[in-house]
């Protein structure tokens, strides 16, 4: 009886969830790694085929692929714009929202609503806003870029980065608002006694106090960026122009499923996740350092 713990019934209650994790996460995870070291391809249903071990061949193919290089460069551009913009705006807006007394419900709805709306729906309106003859260009008049935003190879990725910032910001404001509830009021009071300006209080009290939340925001923004698919697929018509907005997941989809090289895609997926983990680890060390 003791071997199973004080409440063995807990094993039964959590069994469906445990099975789900095993089938949907653990097994596919192992399968992905296995696939990346083997020659794996889609065979006709029912056919029994060999998937010989090929060592690092798939990884070599991924690392020497120009399309993959470009996708990783694109995602770097994305992150350089998206992560600082997201972190900065989310913190400033959360601080302002936290002190606001009037119109809180309206402000909350306004900032969170892009986050709860389907990407596919808001992509529709961004296509309309940013196309060659769209509202953004009519407002800009002679300053409108040519070629227009989403078909301009220098502007396609930055436009996607701004889109994703707008789309996700509400969630990150929410994270910062939660963190702000835990900043001791005394810190602000003693800073006020010392005669610190509002700006100084923000930098010397708020920013250090929410540092753990900042680490989380940066990591989650990074994961969102690494997962980018819907935006380049729909906003820029499949990562265009000329692959200037292709993302690694888009390349995984094109190579793995459209062109039937799941082993290549699996190796790319493993590398992508390793990349995210390494950057997340470095970020953690940098932000949590005193």
């Amino acid at each position: 009886m003791r071997v199973l713990g004080r409440h063995p019934v807990g094993m039964i209650l959590s069994a469906p969830y445990a099975v789900y994790l095993a089938v949907i996460f653990a097994y596919p995870l192992g399968f992905a790694v296995w696939m990346s070291f083997h020659d794996y391809f889609f065979a006709a249903p029912g056919a029994i085929v060999d998937h010989p071990f090929v060592g690092l061949d798939n990884y070599r193919a991924v690392l020497t692929d120009p399309g993959v290089h470009q996708a990783f460069q694109n995602i770097l551009i994305f992150l350089v714009i998206n992560v600082p913009l997201t972190t900065g705006l989310a913190l400033v807006l959360a601080v302002a929202l936290n002190r606001a007394v009037h119109g809180r419900a309206f402000l909350r709805v306004a900032f969170y609503v892009p986050y709860v709306t389907a990407s596919v729906a808001v992509v529709g309106v961004w296509l309309f806003l940013f196309n060659s003859g769209g509202l953004v260009n009519s407002v800009l008049g002679p300053l409108a870029p040519d070629p227009s935003w989403l078909i301009n190879e220098h502007l396609a990725m930055p436009t996607i980065a701004v889109f994703v910032t707008w789309k996700q910001l509400g969630f990150f404001i929410l994270l910062y608002l939660a963190a702000l509830q835990n900043v001791p009021k005394e810190l602000y009071e003693s800073a006020a006694v010392d005669g610190a300006s509002a700006w100084h209080r923000f930098w010397s009290v708020t920013v250090p106090a929410v540092r753990p939340a900042t680490a989380l925001v940066v990591i989650l923004a990074l994961i969102t960026g690494a997962n980018l698919f819907t935006e380049p697929y729909l906003l820029t018509g499949g990562g265009g122009p000329n692959g200037a907005s292709a993302s690694p997941v888009l390349v995984m989809y094109q190579r793995g499923l459209q062109q039937g090289e799941p082993d290549f895609a699996a190796a790319l997926g493993v590398l992508l996740v390793l990349g995210v983990l390494i950057v997340a680890y470095i970020n953690r060390r940098l932000i949590e350092r005193d």
């Binding site: 807990g10 399968f31 969170y112 709860v116 709306t117 596919v120 309106v125 309309f128 997941v249 992508l272």
Partner: protein
Amino acid sequence: MKAVRYVVLFAGALIFLFPFYYMLIGSLQSAPDTSITGAFPTSGLTLDNYADINSRVDLVGSLINSGIFTGGVLLGTVVFGVLAGYALARLRFRGRGTLFVLVLLVQVIPFQLLLIPLYVLIVRGYGLADSYLGMILPFAINTTAVFIFRQFFLQLPDDLFAAARLDGAGELRVLWSVALPLVRPALLTAVLLTFIGPWNEFLWPFLVTKQADMQPLAVSLANYISNVSARAANPFGAILAGACVLAAPAVGLFIAFQRHFVSSDLGSGVKG
């Protein structure tokens, strides 16, 4: 300072809301007017675009598919997720620690790594292409919701459970008549959070469904955007009408329940 704060907040809010306003206005105009005054039309609004998108994409069928996909995920999460969250929070059993570590790990494993093997397993292995089960399976139990359930069950006082057990109530009964009524607000928050996942999901159902009559609205609208729209008379009008239909349920639910979507509830879920 105070005035500046409100100016920044309200200006930001208007910028954030503008695309939604423009989506609605664009869906009601018979011809796209992209001039600045065109954003504030005074007449000539019509529902033609809704009829147009409905003739190209089966709106009702797609909405039903979205509903079944989302409903399946909600059912799995509320039934099995609550059971797991309760067990993790209030019961001591073998394997509990391991399971909780897995709950945390799953939240950092990006879905894209699982994409290819899940596709191979579910579509090629189990033959679940173009089926609701195939759509639902990868999302069947929302791990973030399990985590939120656990946090809320954890916050309930121990005495409550001791008393109920002393009265001889079984664990399911304790859960159903003691614990659940007390965490009803948390349940609502978790259900709302879980709802927006499958309702808005594009990539997975896009991979699983090739038959148009099985596609959720996010997928059929995306296919319309990328394939068909070039040939329509007013492509943007139809796209925006479809976008409004796709956005409305999630936005409506969110506005109706926005007070449950607050930082304290989610904060306890996020902080751990």
